[in-house]
């Protein structure tokens, strides 16, 4: 027999919040408890039990239970094209301006992602759903097209990274790409958000493989410290290449899929307004780990700059091969493995963000807690998108290098419209209640939008009228 309860009966013991979604639930309509509700409730039960206890160990356990979406989104964004961008940055410019610049981009990512934490915890809904409901299908579809096009192109580059990383070990492209698809499918078979999240978190930590690689190159820490303080040097000044790398590095940290993924993951995990503080810690910790991995990649390839090796058209695996004489076979192997990991984890998180968004917009069940039968559409979108991207990588003669370069640039260009939706939602008192952005958060968010639009315009100028760069001291 199906057990049903009225919403008002279910309200017992729940902390009331003041927003439009929370107020609507008092309609007294009968509700049906789903499989997804039960799984989420069990996860929340553990959180409540742990929260009720005092002491250091329960706090640590609570932290363990609540972290996830923030670390996943930040390390997920340290993906194939991102690591390639950092590697290209190190090889082209050495240790200098881009060291503090990369730190700045991750600070920008923190500002943006913190807003999705609040939005997800306050509304329990995904980003795509809120955009469609609040702004209507006209603007909603624009936002979805931006997301889907960007996600598909990015997924293609993830499989390029997987192929290139495993190619270093002599694995044939078809085997590496199909193997990655298989691993992605296995992770989904858990049908539990919690288990899926732990598996991917474990895999994401391998992003830090770039740290030992960087240490093997024996970086000059004094130079790194000097660069952090002085924002220099910038060899070659501001050229078209510099602007392209600048944009690629921004696109390596702040992209639309991150907004959709983290908010949906927070809703799927079941985080509430009580968990926002931990959500913020999760995001900052993820950003810190991702910054370390990004800087390590840059430091790892900086010797190529010092040895005047041209890395202009390097693909991921070629960086590993070029580094081999400097850091040995094991160091190069770690670099290649890191590239593979970056592509693999991002392939999982990005395809999941597409599936969440599709489910939210098509009003189909969308959760990693769903058994396959109940979440068929969700899982199929995820797998079909990944399979299509993987298949594209295997077509001979596809200009893969162009796609890789394009992806981060397009991400930066698509970010200002995506941020406007986020900014308006997070300042919408009707859905956020008292959790709307404080003034300082709005100032920081507008600062990020300004930087992104400025970088996009600079890129436009560098392409259409490269000579105009001289006006701002470039060449």
């Amino acid at each position: 027999m199906k057990e049903t309860k009225t919403v008002s009966e279910l309200r017992e013991g729940a902390a009331p919040r003041s927003n439009i979604l929370n107020d609507q639930r008092t309609s007294g309509a009968a509700v049906v408890i789903t499989h997804e509700d039960i799984d989420r409730a069990h996860d929340r039960e553990r959180v409540s039990e742990t929260r009720a206890r005092r002491g250091f160990r329960p706090r640590l356990r609570l932290f363990w239970l609540l972290i996830g979406p923030g670390i996943l989104v930040m390390l997920g964004e340290n993906d194939g094209p991102s690591m390639l961008s950092y590697a290209a940055t190190g090889a082209r410019f050495g240790i200098g301006f881009f060291v503090p610049f990369i730190v700045l981009t991750f600070l920008m990512a923190c500002v943006v992602q913190e807003m999705t934490v609040r939005l997800g915890a306050a509304t329990h809904r995904g980003h795509a759903e809120l955009i469609f409901d609040r702004f209507g299908p006209f603007w909603g579809w624009f936002s979805m097209i931006d997301l889907m096009v960007g996600n598909f192109l990015t997924l293609v580059t993830e499989f390029i990274a997987i192929r290139a990383g495993l190619g270093f070990f002599g694995v044939r492209p078809a085997v590496s790409v199909l193997g990655a698809l298989f691993v992605l499918s296995i992770a989904l078979m858990t049908h539990r958000y919690w288990t899926w999240e732990r598996i991917i978190l474990g895999a994401a930590l391998f992003n830090l493989l770039f740290v030992p690689v960087a240490l093997l190159t024996h970086p000059h820490w004094g130079t790194v410290g000097h660069a952090l303080v002085t924002w220099g040097p910038l060899p070659g000044g501001i050229t078209q290449d510099t602007v392209l790398i600048l944009l690629a590095d921004i696109g390596a940290t702040v992209t639309p899929w991150m907004l959709f993924f983290q908010q949906s993951a927070i809703a799927d995990k079941g985080l509430t307004t009580h968990d926002i503080r931990f959500g913020r810690v999760d995001t900052v910790l993820g950003a810190a780990l991702a910054t370390v991995a990004a800087l390590a990649t840059m430091l790892a390839t900086a010797p190529l700059f010092m040895h005047h090796m041209s890395a202009a058209n390097f693909e991921a695996a070629e960086f590993a091969q070029a580094l081999q004489p400097l850091i040995g076979h094991w160091g190069a192997a770690l670099f290649a493995l890191g590239i593979f990991e970056a592509g693999m984890v991002a392939a999982v998180t990005i395809s999941t963000s597409s599936a969440y968004a599709f489910g939210e917009v098509a009003r189909r069940p969308h959760s990693l807690n769903l058994p396959f039968k109940q979440g068929r559409a969700f899982y199929l979108v995820l797998l079909v998108e990944a399979a299509a991207a993987a298949g594209l990588v295997l077509i001979p003669g596809i200009p893969l290098v162009y796609i890789v370069l394009l992806v981060n640039v397009i991400a930066v260009l698509a970010m200002p419209p995506a941020l406007l939706f986020l900014y308006m939602l997070v300042n919408d008192r009707e859905i956020m209640g008292p959790l709307i952005s404080p003034r300082w958060a709005n100032v920081l968010a507008l600062g990020v939008v300004t930087v992104l639009i400025g970088a996009g315009l600079l890129f436009g100028v560098s392409v259409i009228a490269p000579n105009a760069l001289a006006i701002i001291g470039g060449r």
Partner: protein, 75 residues
């Protein structure tokens, strides 16, 4: 409205599960509640419409720039 979610079957829904759902989830976390209640659409102000269109035009223009760059690179 067509029902898009599938409820747990009676065999799956134990009393413990039921209690857990009632005590651990906030009411608007329930899937059926989410299905029935959506955020109402908001009216965009003139300034907001200008911003939306402005950024849309910016994006279309910049994608054109990217296509131009690819075209010149290929040539």
């Amino acid at each position: 409205m067509e029902k898009q979610f599938e409820s747990a079957t009676a065999a799956e829904l134990s009393r413990e599960d039921f209690t857990s759902v009632m005590t651990s989830l906030e009411p608007d976390q329930l899937i059926s509640t989410k299905e029935h209640h959506h955020c109402p659409r908001r009216r965009l102000t003139r300034t907001e419409m200008i911003l939306f269109w402005g950024l849309r035009i910016y994006l279309v223009f910049m994608v054109g720039v990217v296509v131009y760059q690819i075209w010149t690179s290929v040539r």
